[in-house]
Symmetry: C2
Subunit: 120 residues, 2 copies
DNA sequence: CTCCTTGCACTATTTGTTATAGTACAATTA
DNA sequence: TAATTGTACTATAACAAATAGTGCAAGGAG
């Protein structure tokens, strides 16, 4: 499990872990039903406190990205498609909001497309 | 000056003020050289501490959105276009990043456009 | 000149969240 | 039996945000 923690970031460590694991699920780096590191193990790997990892795992379980099985370990959900769908919807929504903001400022769709095409 | 503060948000109050004023500049609600409320006045209006408003104004001045004139008051910059340009560039950059993320997940440009067109 | 308002500067304290430290339990596995 | 798993809990530390409070210098209005 490869996770880079940015200690300068305003995003809490536990949330960085959440976002990174969600991302790796969406990118098929983490597969359905795959086991992920034990709380204590990941804590050691990242050099942080187990409670912080626990908080991340709790959040991920609430979002149905992972499933914790007592004494067995923690596993990626078997319904990875749903996780992806939610992520994609969120990103699409973000883009729509950004486009709306640009239009509010007075930039029309053609100009937006023009600006996007440069260096894309 | 109409600013709504969300106390539930993780974004600090001073930053909410910064973002809202920048937005109102971009939307031409706040005009070039226009005077904005005194620190103490806005603090009373929003029901917050003057130091919090001061921090917001300091940030805005650093970003060249406003100019503070001792004993005179605080004013919107005369170069509003530059503020707009920076905001637009930032939003465009956000959109690009989001598109890249979608492509990484495996969604091609045509699908992205299709998803964007629904309800837009 | 006096009073009020302005931005500015500073210290101290409070508050809430994040992160750490530490301990313990139940259940499964080797 | 020993080790590992997730779970649960309390206490503490660390940090940023926000508040509280005081005071200064300078300009404008009366």
């Amino acid at each position: 499990m490869n996770i880079a923690i940015d200690y300068q970031s305003r995003v809490p460590i536990y949330e960085q872990i959440v976002l990174e694991i969600e991302k790796q699920v969406a990118l098929n780096i983490l597969k359905p039903n795959e086991q992920i590191p034990a709380i204590r193990e990941l804590a050691v790997n990242l050099g942080i406190n187990p409670n912080t990892v626990k908080k991340a795992y709790d959040t991920l379980e609430q979002r149905k990205v992972i499933i914790s099985k007592s004494t067995k370990g923690t596993f990626i959900t078997d319904n990875v498609d749903e996780v992806k769908r939610i992520m994609v919807d969120k990103i699409i929504d973000d883009i729509k909001k950004n486009i709306q903001e640009l239009e509010n400022i007075g930039i029309n769709k053609e100009d937006i497309i023009k600006k996007l095409k440069v260096s894309e």
